[in-house]
């Protein structure tokens, strides 16, 4: 017999040659030294393959997800019930916590009280959130409750199964849809509400297509949300008004609070509760009468009317001519108090230099004047202050703890991108996310049901920006230490924190870190939602290495 081919020998060694042929090969091997050696080599090779491939089973490097991850999906009803239950529980617990009347001596413990001294911009934000009235309250509370509920359930679902993650989002949308249609039965109007028309409901006003303006000359008993180029309210609104526009003008009456965000905000009418104007120009005209506090966040503000309680100004230049029954608080560049000014309470403020405050001789201030000079060190080197480092340490620790929690709940968020290409993709996706989410939120937010969705999206977006840094930190730490865990995480957090605070290039680094982190997270989330892998180019390119890390 002639020598069998190597192919035949290989099949023989695999034990897959038909019996007759195998017998022939065996006979041949007895007399052929060369073939015997080949067969021995092939056998050894098979052994090598089996060993090398199966050795991997002994490695400890395989990330071993908890069994819970391999569980069955839970039912969508259970999910919806869970989200709603959690939301209700959250809402109830917060109202018990925050609705509590504290004994007067302990009043300072109430977080709502912290907003009473609005010297800081931070407090101003709390002020807006608290005092913009019931609509904002109800909407934000609802959204916060639902987001928290959904986030908790989303986290839990990630631990339970991936499919459940999808159902949690569906459940959340479902609950949101339900919530919006039930509790905010809104009337959607376009263009104008003419004088003489009364709407017994809350209204969301869209601009009409041609003028892009909104004119409210009639009466609205509920709240009003108006988004347009020019919003003019000459009628009566019983509830609160939120107006986002290029120019907001209030000539009529508002029973509740006003939140006007626009380039120009002019209030000449009556506002029952608080009036908050934010924009480059904010004017409370001669006939303006604010039932509670007035607040102006503006480059320039002119106040001629009457404010029943405090007037708070944050911004550039305040031109004060009106009457404030309680305190005037300002923090800004210049303040001009004309002779017609009357302040029933104190004048409190922070300015850069004494010359920036001009008080005309006729101005009446019943209370005391507490003017502080802002520390005039705008050029101060932040790297030389102790507080900079203290805060950096605090933020670093916070990031570390947040990171531990994050990777505990979503272990797969840790980026696996090893090649430059992966990071390039991450960066691209990150940029897209950075830009598209706010845009989409604005577009979606214009519709009624979309508004809560948009707010949720923005909340997630901000959370993403925060966590982006942690995700990158984790990767940096893991790459440096060649393993994962708490120690590499804190190493990464520290390294990234230092890099982001470097002089000159820190800003760029921080931008890149956010892009990469956001992109990596967006990709992971995208991947966890698809049930089957996407069609991507064949991965059998030579360069690609199996991730035996």
């Amino acid at each position: 017999m002639t020598c069998p081919t190597e192919y035949t020998c290989a099949v023989f060694v695999d034990g897959e040659l038909p019996d007759i042929e195998a017998r022939a090969v065996r006979l041949h091997l007895e007399e052929c030294e060369q073939c015997r050696r080949l067969v021995a080599d092939l056998r050894a090779e098979n052994l090598v393959l089996v060993q090398c491939l199966q050795d991997v089973d002994l490695e400890e490097s395989v990330r071993f997800p908890g069994f819970a991850e391999a569980r069955q999906p839970v039912s969508i009803f259970r999910f919806a019930a869970g989200v709603m239950g959690t939301a209700v529980a959250f809402r109830l617990s917060t109202s018990i916590l925050f609705g509590l009347k504290l004994p007067s001596g302990l009043g300072w413990l109430d977080p709502r009280d912290w907003a009473r001294d609005p010297a800081w911009l931070f407090n101003a934000a709390a002020y807006v959130a608290r005092d913009a009235g019931n609509l904002v309250n109800a909407v934000t509370q609802g959204i916060v409750a639902l987001s928290v509920g959904a986030a908790l359930w989303f986290g839990a679902s990630r631990l339970l199964s991936r499919r459940a993650a999808v159902s949690s989002v569906l459940a959340m949308l479902f609950v949101l849809g339900l919530g919006s249609s039930e509790s905010y039965a809104l009337d959607v109007r376009k263009g104008e509400i003419p004088a003489g028309v009364t709407i017994d409901d809350s209204v969301v006003a869209h601009p009409d297509e041609t003028s892009q303006n909104i004119d409210i000359a009639g009466d609205i008993t509920g709240d009003l949300l108006a988004v347009g180029n020019r919003v003019t309210i000459s009628g009566n609104v019983g509830g609160n008004v939120i107006a986002l526009a290029g120019r907001v003008e209030v000539l009529g009456n508002i029973g509740g609070s006003l939140l006007g965000v626009a380039q120009t905000v002019i209030v000449s009418g009556h506002v029952g509760r608080n009036a908050i104007g934010a924009g480059s120009n904010v004017t409370f005209g001669k006939t303006a009468d604010i039932g509670s506090n007035a607040m102006a966040l503006a480059a320039e503000a002119a106040v001629e009317g009457k404010t029943q309680r405090d007037l708070i100004f944050l911004g550039g230049t305040l031109d004060m001519r009106g009457n404030v029954l309680r305190n005037l608080v300002f923090r800004g560049g210049n303040a001009w108090l004309a002779a017609t000014t009357h302040i029933g309470g104190d004048l409190k403020g922070t300015i850069k230099e004494k010359e920036d405050l001009h008080i005309a001789s006729g101005a009446a201030i019943d209370g005391r004047q507490a003017i502080e000079l802002a520390p005039s060190t705008p050029e101060e080197n932040q790297y030389l202050t102790a507080s900079f480092y203290v805060w950096q340490i605090v933020w670093t620790l916070a990031a570390f703890i947040a990171g531990l929690l994050l990777f505990r709940i979503f272990p797969s968020l840790a980026p696996t991108g090893a090649t430059g290409k992966d990071w390039l993709i991450s960066g691209g996706v990150g940029f897209a996310t950075l830009v598209s989410v706010p845009l989409a939120a604005i577009l979606v937010g214009i519709t009624v049901i979309g508004l809560p969705l948009a707010l949720v999206a923005m909340a997630l977006w901000f959370a993403g920006l925060y966590f982006s840094r942690i995700v990158v930190s984790e990767f940096v730490g893991r790459s440096l230490m060649k393993r994962s865990g708490a120690l590499p995480l804190i190493v990464g957090v520290v390294v990234v924190a230092v890099a982001m605070n470097l002089p000159w290039i820190g800003g760029l680094i921080s931008f890149l870190v956010r892009l990469l982190g956001l992109g990596a997270m967006a990709l992971t989330i995208y991947r966890s939602f698809r049930l089957s892998p996407p069609r991507i180019a064949a991965t059998s390119e030579p360069g690609e290495v199996m991730g035996v890390s």
Partner: protein, 184 residues
């Protein structure tokens, strides 16, 4: 609606035990076949979900690992097929000639194996999918040609051919790596 869980066949704790025992092996099979940790994780997940759902059809006479690996093999090959532009990736193709450049065409030696498992695995991940899948099924899963043929949906002779050529690719890869090493 999605059905709820506990079939009388398997309590959750029982399945958890199965999961813990076999996770690593199933995962490694998926990683070899799919050549990606991420996709392997997804695939393992799906495999255990399927196993849990089909627990009733498990024949206790067979080892649990074979059953799970069979599900995993089928699932991954499905994924590979779905991914490939041409569905019949394992079928015969035009380059029928057996002879691949002679370099490294001698069987891999034993010495190599002991020290360089990592290199072998790396070479494995670098050879074309159509060869990698049958090699993995044959030497990681230790399946026979017939079983592999069933999973890949091709003839038995085609399996023999793919394995034979796959080994040649592998040797070539290893020889390349070796040359690089020596050049240093």
């Amino acid at each position: 609606m999605l059905a709820t869980l506990d079939s009388p066949m398997t309590t959750d704790s029982g399945f958890e035990e199965i999961y813990r025992t076999h996770y690593r092996r199933v995962f490694n099979l998926c990683r070899y076949l799919l050549n990606s940790v991420d996709r392997a994780e997804d695939a393992v997940h799906e495999v255990f979900l399927r196993a849990h759902a089909r627990m009733a059809s498990y024949d206790p006479a067979l080892p649990m690992s074979s059953w799970l690996l069979k599900i995993a093999g089928n699932h991954c090959v499905d994924l590979l097929r779905r991914k490939a532009t041409e569905r019949r990736i394992f079928d015969e193709d035009s380059d029928r000639e057996f002879d691949i450049p002679a370099a490294g065409s001698t069987p891999l030696g034993e010495v190599l194996a002991a020290e360089r498992g990592e290199d072998v695995r790396r070479a494995m991940s670098a050879i074309p999918e159509k060869y990698r899948a049958p090699l993995v099924l044959a030497y990681y899963n230790e399946l026979g040609y017939d079983e592999i043929a069933g999973i890949l949906g091709v003839e038995r002779t085609q399996v023999a051919l793919l394995i034979f050529r796959g080994k040649q690719h592998l040797r070539q890869r290893m020889a390349k790596g070796q040359r690089k090493e020596n050049a240093r």
